[in-house]
Assembly symmetry: C3
Homo-oligomer: 478 residues x 3
């Protein structure tokens, strides 16, 4: 590992010397492990087509909603960052966008974006200095030149990053053409998809009825009929497994609500939703029922189910209307799990074969609801700290509040959940460092032995993700 003044080998480690030594030892044992990335949002066309990435601004600034939101919050317009609005002018020179970004790089002090970006600059591009207004042009030149080279093509980076597996995420209606195209390339078992049916279960979406028509066309089932609709979903899940090697589904709902309704009620709700006559409450109930249905299908087909609730999407209509979704205007809401998940868990919660991974943006649930649910129900696992909490302190808070009740083995390892491909090694490195940090404290306070910590860091880094996502990799041992 290259070291530099701003990327210290002991970064994120505890300051106490005795604890830091233990932390270093634990981290050293896993820092070179291959990466398993079982949940994320990279573009499968990158790995299918293997074309070079674009310029530094296009790759590192414009798609990164963490970066955009911080700059926007401090008064920079999206236009000045090169985002194309619905109408009006915007900055089209990526060098100018890069310069603007560099001038405001100090805003990221104390944030994970700063850690990830410094890692990318130093470890991926070999630039051993801090990004400032002055160094910005040099950074741009180095990164831009690198991106044009064969060494920085997507597949070369997969190899260089030692990514053994990466999962993308596609909607239920996607044809998975890029995943299909990878067959025979040698990369088809390293890049897999994830089944995300939000578009065909969430009647809040204006195109819901159209989507169900498409779902019917794709599968041959009558999606206006409750049983037909469920069969159509089964068919798409099978397609995602067969064509995209999917092992998991993902569900991004506003709440964690689940229901367990009789089929006749379900048919009525489906009718109302298709007719556009369902109330907000009925659409919510329908989504809740669909989570329970999806859990039932997971029991049938073995796919791991992921539930990501609690984000108020596109909170800022001004930004959404001018720039579209995923521009940093998603804001977390308080979430209930205990009552909300009860109907699903009452029905399927004791099934041995079922694997459901819960995520949260509402940390007040870690100790109260999530650790206690996962510490009881055999089907439940807790996903890593999600999104805004994918950060050093976010990870410590997660382990601090979850471990005493759920232990380590009811957690699901790390996943990066990112579309920022170049930051994947940085993100996994932070997780490995912070898990080492947490374990080193347990060792120092004589809660576990060093031998136990050495086993745990391997499990947290690799084995738990493999198991939770039912991946074919062999478990690693100490």
């Amino acid at each position: 590992m290259t070291t530099s003044s701003h990327l210290h080998p002991d970064r994120l480690f505890p300051a106490n010397p005795a604890q830091r030594d233990i932390c270093r030892t634990l981290y050293a044992s896993v820092k070179d492990f291959p990466i398993i990335s079982p949940h994320g949002h990279t573009d499968p066309s990158w790995f299918a087509g293997n074309a070079n990435f674009g310029n530094p601004a296009e790759l590192l600034i414009q798609p990164d909603h963490y970066v955009l939101r911080m700059l926007y919050s401090q008064g920079l317009s999206y236009e000045s960052l090169g985002l194309k609005p619905k109408d009006g002018v915007y900055e089209t020179d990526p060098r100018k966008v890069w310069q603007t970004f560099a001038e405001h790089y100090y805003l990221f002090a104390g944030t994970p974006s700063r850690i990830w970006l410094d890692h990318v600059f130093t470890e991926v591009f070999g630039i051993d200095k801090l990004l400032t207004a002055e160094t910005a042009p040099e950074f741009y030149d180095i990164i831009d030149a690198a991106l044009k080279s064969d060494d920085f093509k997507p597949r070369a980076l997969l190899d260089r990053f030692k990514i053994d597996l990466i999962a993308t995420t596609e909607g239920a209606l996607d044809d998975l053409r890029h995943h299909k195209a990878m067959v025979g390339s040698g990369y088809e078992h390293r890049v897999i998809t994830t089944f995300r049916p939000d578009d065909v279960v969430d009647a809040d979406k204006p195109e819901f009825a159209d989507n169900l028509k498409k779902l019917s066309d794709l599968t041959g089932f009558d999606t206006t009929d409750w049983a037909g609709y469920l069969d159509a979903l089964r068919a798409r899940r099978a397609y995602f497994r067969d064509v995209g090697r999917a092992t998991a589904t993902d569900h991004g709902h506003p709440t964690a609500r689940t229901e367990n309704l009789a089929p006749a009620e379900c048919q009525k709700l489906l009718d109302m939703c298709l007719a556009g006559k369902a109330s907000a409450e009925e659409r919510d109930m329908f989504r809740g029922q669909m989570l329970t249905e999806m859990a039932g299908m997971s029991l049938e087909d073995g796919m791991t189910m992921q539930i990501h609730p609690g984000s108020y999407r596109n909170h800022n209509p001004g930004v959404y209307n001018r720039f579209g979704a995923d521009k940093g205007a998603d804001i977390p809401m308080r979430v209930n799990y205990t009552q909300a998940l009860q109907p699903l868990l009452a029905k399927h919660g004791n099934e041995a074969g079922l694997e459901i991974i819960l995520f949260t943006l509402d940390e007040s649930n870690y100790a109260r609801e999530l650790a206690t649910l996962a510490g009881h129900y055999p089907c439940l696992r807790l996903g890593p700290p999600w999104w805004f909490h994918d950060s050093p302190q976010g990870m410590l808070r997660f382990r601090d509040q979850v471990t005493e009740t759920a232990g380590f083995y009811n957690t699901a390892g790390f996943n990066d959940d990112t579309r920022a491909f170049l930051s994947i090694p940085a993100r996994h490195d932070v997780a490995r460092r912070m898990d080492s940090y947490f374990l080193s404290q347990l060792v120092c306070e004589h809660k576990i032995t060093m031998a136990e910590a050495e086993r745990l860091i391997v499990d947290l880094t690799y084995n738990l993700a493999v198991k939770a996502y039912k991946l074919p990799m062999k478990a690693k041992s100490v």
Copy 2:
């Protein structure tokens, strides 16, 4: 104290050497104090009958819902742990159950169960090694032999554990025969009861009307009449004080709701509840009214009142139907205190003689609601971190979030709340260590002097519990 590789004398102490030294000094000053256990769930028949306990599995695994829930969450069936289901086979060989437990002991890394169990193995049974699949039979033999000896009978353990007082908990209809039987044994002032009226104030329970009939039979009051019902409760409180030396009541409600209704409204609610016609809202209102009534009676008779809200009992119907209550399927819910307690506090909150101890499973209330309420109302004290939060980090979070607003003297000392009798010394030891930990940080950061910390650790370990539960013990001084 025996030390061993896995039960370090500095366990749970801070890693920083200067702080650890202070922590050691504080802990040393209280580690041999007798134990006051003013709230818990041990079985009074143990202390009345003084028979030997059963085998290791029956004593240490099967009644411990912390242990059961973790093993169940990782896919072990309750049957394999020797729990008798409603129907079907289960493991009846306690040695096999013990072996299964030992093979999965690694799951408890980082949990308080691990700390308590290691303490029990080492300190109570003198086994100076780690429990593993290999050492399991040796553990079983040693523990099983010990349990058959006179030294491990309940009263001998009370003496050995230096338990000066232990409170059990009985329902309002209990005849307290075991507490009665202890009179004259020399143990009657060490083992007392607690009045728990949930069964006769909670109309959610199907047997509510039957229970009120029994309450009427026991007391001679007409429990279909509001005033008669209250008098019947007064009579049972008196019985618990007279026969069971009770100094406190305990109330396990789903929420902290209180009400202050006119008697005519109360009579109407009682009628509806008895007729089984009360809505969920009306039953909740009735429970809320009863908390206020109980506070009023505490003013009359001086009993300390404990409120334990926020547990969704028997969340898992599959487990409940096959194995009954208290099998680890209770899950915390978000709780409101500020608005919920206002009616009770508006009525009785300023009374000097009243003592109400609040508990929570919802830590988000520590700083926001609980510390601010206890830091104002003279009747309120905060109970120690409860249940899932009875853990090293749970205790630190409690002190961290409560102390700055409520100070130390609005807290009620430690209580173990356990049915796992052998773990009581371990649990109090953890509390003493963590209070020393917290105080050592205040000393190191020059927030309090060492002399103050030395007084505080004595108060936190002993005097605050004596005072909050109005026990006859003399205060200890530095």
Copy 3:
């Protein structure tokens, strides 16, 4: 700085030696900075009239609701502390009140009140010992004598405390006579007001209709007409700017609810509120609409807007009825920001000129809602930890939970929010120490460089407050 056994120069600094050294360096660079106090509740008549303060009890105990609440929570009556009840006797000898306070000073161990008071005793009055029952008379004599001297007159203390600016808070109907009186004194730009319109926007207040009549009389606008009412508010805002040099408004609402209603609906709500016929929900809606209106006026006139939601005022009717408001019986409630603020933010959230500072008493919102909102919307800044959270650990929790998502530059610097004038240096000192503490950890864990920390501590101590409140001070540099 005077040092003493109980006011250590390293107080509040981390125990780890390497981190403490960094912390000392950072703190040393800002400890002598002048104080900017842009939000608080000191009495403008002090600075206008410049009369001596009263006795020690009258100055340090009776107006301090932190002190009162703790003593009251431990059973001391307000009468014994010299508070005059509606009827009945009370202690009128300030020496006796002081003695009672001193005898219970141990209750404050671990609270910020203890830190502030020790600082006042040592740094302001030069008493280098701990307050106890024994030292109480000596303390009283020294403080009482000092308060009679010219050196302890309000303006002398403003100079001695190096307070460059202090903002008081006045209701919308206030004539600002004291602020007017200061013109020409040389203090008029150091003491400014803040516009607080709660009395004329909150129809929960019984005097609401009367207040709107007064508002009409003061401004000449018809406040029964929606447009006239808004113009009257505009006129008062202008008055506060012109006569009181106000740069900010402050809004203390029960919730953070905002609305964006059509003018006709607003007129209807206003009519209902004036007629006393509005329901609780309608009064809440009206308050919500008024927050959005106030944001719109801030856009027009440039005043910074502060929102302080979530306090249940006068929770204890017994105390309120006997002693009035602000006697420590305000209790925080859970608050929602994400959904509640959306209407206001949808309307004005992207405006460059707007500055809205959000406060909370509900820490569960720091990471979930507040950091994510402030980390996106250009108009939002987060105020410092408020009220019960204005404390060492409260500040650490704030930075810990906010920084990774919102960074440092979406926070608004420190403000003391106090009526306890003598404690202002103590409170700013605590903030400077805790910001140094937090930054020293980032440096030790190699998250930021020392040079960045040195810049940040200056910004956090001075520049961010100047910017957020649009004050005329020049920015300080490292």
